[in-house]
């Protein structure tokens, strides 16, 4: 009978060993990590995703820019979010000194958070690194395209920027470049940058928490909160619950159904939703069909019923406040009978209107997108079109959104959401209206010429020229069926004073957040 006890002993030993190894291997790394309790000097923010990097030249990425821009690093010039007006920041003034050269006056007495002084040499370095290097910075492609800049710093307070051809909006483009010290790597991107902003990185526990601490060397007004602590939760309802449960002070990217209640603050963001019609294939190559699609879209109903009023029906691809917005442009009317008539006319003329059209949407691109797509399918079916819904993830949908478009796809209508962060219609026109624009499915040589002519103008002439183009596009091209200028919801604790603006989703300035005088939190 001796083997039985031995096996029992071995089994117990094995169990203890496995338990011990498990505890040792896991190291209790997760429990209690970073637990700090409530601190009234710390601003708590929950984002929808962890920033993949804090590299300043990637700050055109929403998830990076929302943390980095004007918090850790700063640009030479900043844009006033609601008007698009340019304001001095690290540059105190700028002027066009020749058709292809701009000169910027650099602010004196500024230091980086590591103590090194900021001069024009740093500004030249940072712009050169972002635009001319091989780093493939997001801001390079987004703002400058193929353009190369010639930079020089004749002294510590003067920066000159040369362009290959006259660029009337160069200062606007420069406002996208975050300034880093000359010691920053030019061969590799940095995850944790040094900047001149009101905050500096204190600690980044990858996957869990990012903490910024007030930069005591900051040249401007001291921000209210000594620290800012970012966390991230992918579920909107959890972010909203964190606000209502007083676990966070700010929650980004909420939807109307997430449940933030009165703590959810609606605000106009830069985004506009639209359907882009791939006009190269029948039946979408017939303008009557494209017009019929436009007539069938009940924009007002979608905004009211699906978006719960969080948006405004759109007549163009840019919202109010962007240079080129046409405030005289009326909504395309919702007229189902007219739409049916146009489809019938096209059918009578031999257009294969019963050919299946793919209606492509991106999952979770905005709240209620699935329902919006279903409503649109129903509307298109009602006027006699044959439409099939296809929902895709981001990577899948982008294949259809960006050139080169996939081949042999059949006709498709694509839901897009465009955000003009720059505040100037040129960034929209280049992308969506030029016949070979990276996100344009259709155009004409004549309309291209009109766009180029408008882009060469400045001031009121520029505004008028773009506004005219937005009015003419539906008559000449009709590539889009606009749906709505979107609104976002920001969850905000009663203890924080902050008014979100159209740039909040891309650039959330912590220095604008203060302690509310009427409310307090009793957590301890």
């Amino acid at each position: 009978m001796s083997p039985a006890p031995r096996i029992t002993t071995r089994r117990r030993a094995l169990a203890v060993a496995i338990a011990g190894i498990t505890v040792a291997a896991t190291g209790c790394t997760v429990a209690n990590s970073g637990h700090s309790g409530y601190d009234p000097n710390t601003l708590r923010i929950v984002l929808s995703q962890e920033p993949p990097t804090l590299e300043p030249c990637e700050s055109s990425l929403t998830s990076t820019g929302i943390v980095v821009r004007s918090n850790i690093t700063e640009p030479l010039i900043e844009r006033e979010p609601d008007t698009g007006e340019l304001q001095p920041l690290l540059s105190t003034g700028w002027r066009q000194t020749s058709p292809t050269e701009w000169t910027f006056d650099i602010r004196k007495g500024v230091t980086f958070s590591d103590g090194s002084p900021f001069t024009a040499t740093d500004a030249a370095f940072a712009i050169d690194r972002a635009v001319n290097s091989e780093l493939q910075c997001n801001v390079d492609g987004y703002v400058f395209g193929d353009e190369k800049l010639k930079l020089s710093a004749p002294n510590d307070t003067t920066l000159t920027v040369g362009t290959e051809s006259p660029d009337p909006i160069l200062p606007l483009r420069i406002s996208f470049v975050e300034i880093v010290p000359r010691t920053t790597s030019t061969t590799e991107m940095v995850r944790e940058p040094i900047g001149t902003g009101p905050y500096a990185i204190a600690d980044w526990e990858y996957g869990q928490k990012l903490t910024l601490a007030r930069n005591d060397r900051y040249w401007g007004a001291k921000p209210t909160f000594a620290r800012a602590e970012y966390q991230w939760r992918s579920e909107g309802s959890v972010r909203a619950a964190m606000i209502t449960n007083d676990e966070t002070d700010i929650a980004t990217s909420l939807g109307p159904e997430d449940g933030a209640g009165d703590l959810g603050v609606p605000f106009q963001n830069n985004e506009t939703t639209a359907l882009r019609m791939q006009a190269g294939e029948a039946p979408l190559n017939d303008i009557r069909v494209r017009q019929a699609i436009n007539y069938s879209v009940n924009r007002t109903g979608i905004v009211k019923a699906l978006f719960r009023g969080l948006g405004e029906p759109a007549s163009q691809l840019i919202p109010k406040g962007v240079v080129g917005y046409n405030d005289q442009l009326a909504l395309w009317p919702h007229d189902t009978e007219k739409a049916k008539q146009l489809v019938a006319e096209a059918k009578a003329a031999g257009v294969p209107v019963d050919r299946q059209i793919r209606l492509i949407g991106r999952t979770a691109q905005f709240p209620k997108i699935s329902e919006t797509i279903e409503v649109l399918q129903s509307e298109f079916t009602e006027i006699g079109l044959n439409v099939k819904i296809e929902m895709m993830d981001t990577a899948g949908q982008l294949q259809y959104q960006l050139r080169p478009f996939p081949e042999n796809t059949g006709p498709y209508v694509l839901m897009i959401m465009h955000g003009n962060q720059a505040g100037d219609a040129a960034f929209t026109m280049d992308q969506y209206m030029l016949s070979n624009g990276p996100q344009s499915a259709y155009g004409t040589a004549d309309f291209d010429r009109q766009i180029r002519a408008a882009e060469a103008l400045t001031g009121q002439a520029r505004q008028d020229a773009f506004a005219k183009l937005f009015a003419e596009e539906p008559q000449q091209i009709m590539q889009m069926a606009y749906i709505a200028h979107m609104k976002g919801i920001l969850g905000k604790s009663p203890r924080v004073e902050y008014t979100p603006n159209s740039a909040t989703g891309d650039e959330m300035r912590l220095s604008e957040m203060t302690v509310a005088q009427t409310a307090r939190t009793d957590q301890s």
Partner: protein, 308 residues
């Protein structure tokens, strides 16, 4: 014992290679990640440069050979998203999932044994029916629904638990409860069934006739013999926990391998996806070997090849 483990390791190597091959090829079938990483306005030249820099311009076979060469040198590539080493990211995330899975499984086993034994001791009693209803409900509830409802009820409405995160012991409760509910339900059913059979076996009647107490009969005689089927199911469920932590980690912001994998899939971050899948596959193989080793300890017929 060691020859047995060695045999199992050899037989596990081929499936591991097949898993890696499958993930590599399937990931690339989902499309080019260039569009996700470059701005929408990037030029064709910029896109071509990105593809060249990351090897996406090479034929799939060349990319595959390069990948396997890297794996042999423990080089799993670099994340497109963060620029970090993919293996560092996977290794950093894995302990969080392991902690969650191990704690959940231990609690599920203890809970299932207690409830299952209690139900089996008085078959068809009210307690038995109640526990059956409870365990079947638990096994059927969608974890996503349970998690969100749990957040609403315990965090928002009652305010007794944090919504999410990893700050303090209380933050473990909802993730573990969500992850545990299905294994607990399934295991309770299995333990109950096995215990009902065991408690009616002749050796239990013999033990009772010799005056053994009820507790001793259940814990020393019946439960020991009912352990084998429970171990089989627990092994499968434990594997499922490692794979299935995705929902829990995503909802509760738990920085584990499941969340890392789903982010890598959505971002087409191939290197991280492959490293995470490899680590998960290896851990599942190790777990399977451990389970087989437990069988071998329990049953000599498994330990030694049959001799005719």
């Amino acid at each position: 014992m060691f020859p047995f483990v060695r045999r199992r390791m050899y037989t596990s190597a081929l499936p591991l290679v097949i898993v890696l091959l499958g993930v590599f090829l399937l990931a690339r079938l989902t499309g080019d990640p260039t569009n996700l990483y470059l701005p929408e306005s990037a030029t064709e030249a910029q896109r071509a440069a990105f593809a060249e820099k990351n090897g996406f311009d090479q034929p799939i076979l060349t990319q595959l050979i390069d990948y396997f060469k890297g794996v042999l040198h423990f080089d799993f590539g670099t994340s497109l998203r963060t620029g970090e080493s993919a293996s560092d990211m996977a290794l950093r995330a894995f302990p969080a999932t392991l902690q969650l899975a191990v704690t959940t499984m231990l609690l599920a086993i203890v809970g299932a044994v207690i409830i299952g034994c209690w139900a089996a001791y008085r078959p068809n009693s009210l307690a038995d029916r109640f526990s059956s209803l409870l365990s079947m409900t638990a096994a059927s509830i969608p974890d996503f629904w349970f998690a969100i409802t749990g957040v609403w009820l315990f965090a928002v409405l009652l305010g007794v638990l944090p919504t999410s995160g990893t700050d303090g012991g209380l933050s473990w409760i909802l993730p573990i409860a969500t992850l545990m509910i299905r294994p607990l339900g399934v295991l309770t059913q299995v333990v109950r069934g096995a215990m009902v059979s065991a408690l009616s076996a002749p050796y239990v009647r013999l033990a009772r006739s010799k005056g053994a107490s009820d507790f001793r009969v259940v814990s020393h005689h019946a439960l020991r013999n009912a352990a084998a089927p429970a171990l089989t199911v627990a092994g499968d469920l434990a594997v499922g926990l490692i794979k299935g932590a995705v929902v829990v980690e995503a909802i509760f912001g738990w920085p584990g391998i499941g969340k890392l994998m789903i982010d890598a899939i959505l971002q087409r971050d191939f290197a991280v996806l492959q490293a995470a899948v490899l680590l998960t596959a290896v851990s599942i193989f190790v777990l399977n070997i451990a389970i087989d080793a437990c069988y071998a300890l329990l049953d000599a017929r498994v330990r030694e090849p049959a001799k005719v």
